[in-house]
């Protein structure tokens, strides 16, 4: 094996672009490992861990780009470097405009002075500075970046509340504001349902389901997973809910979150009781009765939250897209070739929801993100027994792009699960919408076919598609690709997990 490298000083690309290119080039024949990234502490550690560090990297800064490739021979390694350069140059050309782009927020604001939203996905250590600058200039903020401290979050949200500006995040992946999907969000019709959520894929699942059921969205405001913690006190949830209460375009308000801290719950309920509009609440994992006792409509899962919101929005009763009889019929011929179920999720909240639905009926479920009653996996890279895995969790995404963008690790894992004689049923999600991979179904099917060919095994496969027919990926085409490969396809995670439950019961 030989290692080849290229340093490009004072050349900056965003981490997603670099990780995707690194992952694509690693697939080329003869290439063993790639590190394509800015010279951050993390990337330096990765190079050392992979035994690819060279003394020439000493003294480089996060403004310098490193391309480092280990391959079977020098020619292949050099060809790999050339391929990375080619892809980076294509990327630059794609985003290139006649004018040189600004390199700072201030420069961008000078070009678009009436900008009213700043979407921030820079590394966490720089994100709060940019967010504060945006707020001080009267602009709303969507803070996609993670690794922002809770103290910084509190400071930013205090400024946001004082100026009545949104601070969506940190670690907020999904929002639909004034009809525009931001970051990872689906194309949905406008309507009278307003949502406030501390869950990215939860928000995608509910907004997409609302759309497919025929209703629409006024606003979908992400607040970040810590907003309802004791320290943050629900600052953004309260601000956003109040604004939706006063918004004439919003008739029904939906709240999605993990159960709030006890101290926050009191002030939240007090605030919500002052609102005359209908409110649907899904506090993931909380007892719906405690919500109903307060006079609100409680949902029992994400699909149910969408159905209840549509009922209240239109005054008509809605049903799940797949009836229980239909799912039962689909599971009737579900002969499992192995005893265990495996879930390979890209959406964290969907993974959480699957565990909560199955946990009462399945003896033991392991996960890398276990909910109450489930077990922590001993080794997240090897499944044993029933396993439901969030592949978007930090374990799998350090230095790699999220599995909604980059299917590389999920494809590898899918192949591995298919080959496992213990695996009888594999569930996975396909999340459509802006930000997501443009053809995840084909990527999953390629891995399925390879796994089947290598192992000769045919475990049952089921997928749920989180998305709408307006999304850039073509919903029907994604569905057809999966179905042609023998995958049972469901419109919601709840329907898919119900199918899994019935298969497990039928194979006892």
């Amino acid at each position: 094996m030989v290692i080849s490298h290229l340093i490009k000083k004072q050349t900056y690309f965003d981490s997603v672009t670099l990780m995707l290119i690194g992952s694509q080039v690693k697939k080329l024949p003869g290439i063993d490992s790639t590190v394509v990234g800015m010279c951050t502490d993390y990337n330096i550690d990765s190079l050392k861990r992979l035994d690819m560090y060279q003394s020439v990297f000493d003294g480089l800064t996060p403004n310098d780009l490193i391309i480092c490739i280990r391959a079977a021979d020098q020619k292949t390694a050099d060809a790999g470097i050339a391929e990375v350069e080619k892809r980076l140059s294509t990327r630059q050309k794609q985003s290139g405009s006649v004018e040189l782009p600004p390199s700072t927020q201030e420069g961008a604001a000078a070009r678009l002075p009436d900008a009213n939203m700043v979407l921030i996905s820079v590394p966490g250590e720089y994100a709060a500075r940019e967010a504060e600058l945006a707020l001080n200039n009267g602009r709303h903020v969507m803070l996609f970046s993670d690794n922002v401290s809770i103290e910084e979050e509190l400071r930013l949200k205090t400024i946001g509340v004082s100026k009545e500006l949104l601070v969506m995040g940190p670690d907020c992946g999904t929002a639909i504001i004034n009809g525009t999907p931001l970051a990872f969000a689906n194309a949905v019709r406008s309507g009278n349902i307003g949502l406030v959520a501390a869950s990215g894929t939860g928000l995608q699942e509910v907004t997409s389901t609302i759309h497919r059921l025929g209703s629409g969205i006024s606003q979908a405001i992400g607040v970040g997973g810590r907003d309802l913690s004791e320290k943050i006190g629900g600052k953004m949830t309260l601000l956003a809910t109040r604004a939706l209460a006063e918004d004439p375009a919003t008739k029904v308000i939906v709240l999605l979150s993990k159960p709030p801290a006890e101290s926050v719950l009191k002030s939240l309920y007090a605030e919500l009781k002052g609102i005359s509009k209908k409110i649907v609440i899904y506090f993931i994992g909380a007892d719906p009765k405690t919500i109903e006792e307060q006079g609100f409509v409680a949902a029992k899962n994400l699909e149910d939250a969408a159905i209840k919101a549509c009922d209240l929005s239109s005054g008509k009763q809605h049903k799940p897209e797949f009836s229980d009889a239909q799912i039962t019929a689909m599971a009737a011929d579900g002969k499992m070739s192995g005893k265990y179920l495996r879930g390979l999720y890209s959406g964290g909240t969907l993974c959480d929801e699957a565990q909560r639905i199955l946990q009462p009926i399945v003896v033991e479920i392991s996960s890398n993100t276990p909910v109450k009653g489930c077990k922590e996996m001993a080794d997240v890279y090897t499944s044993t027994g029933h396993c439901i895995i969030d592949l978007g969790d930090d374990n799998f995404t350090r230095g790699k792009a999220h599995p909604m963008i980059d299917p590389a690790y999920r494809s590898e894992r899918l192949e591995k699960e298919i080959a496992d004689p213990e695996a009888g049923l594999i569930l996975f999600d396909v999340v459509l919408g802006y930000g997501s991979h443009l053809d995840m179904a084909s990527e999953m099917v390629a891995a399925i076919q390879l796994g089947r060919k290598k192992s000769g095994r045919q475990p049952l496969l089921a997928a749920c598609i989180c998305g709408t027919h307006e999304d850039p990926q073509n919903y029907e085409r994604q569905k057809a690709i999966l179905e042609e490969a023998g995958v049972k396809v469901f419109p919601t995670n709840v329907a898919m997990v119900r199918f899994g439950q019935l298969c497990l019961e039928g194979n006892k």
Binding site: P102, V118, N178, A240, A249
Partner: protein, 67 residues
């Protein structure tokens, strides 16, 4: 007021992942992507000073606007 922002056309400054800007532009949203890089070449001390200056500038601008 936040409620007054609802219904308005959004105009976006994008800092970081360039594909987010590409998606917005495809949807016809007025967007400016910034070829962002760590300020002051990654020097933390100079970054802190720059932040102070930027925040001070914003305060001066908003005070002028309020007159």
């Amino acid at each position: 007021m936040l409620k007054d922002f609802f219904g308005k056309k959004i105009k976006v400054i994008n800092l970081g992942i360039s594909s987010f800007a590409d998606d917005l532009i495809k949807q016809g949203v007025e967007t400016i992507h910034t070829e962002w890089r760590p300020p002051a070449g990654g020097n933390k001390k100079i970054q802190a000073l720059l932040t102070k200056v930027s925040n001070w500038q914003s305060k001066v601008t908003s005070a002028k606007g309020a007159r």
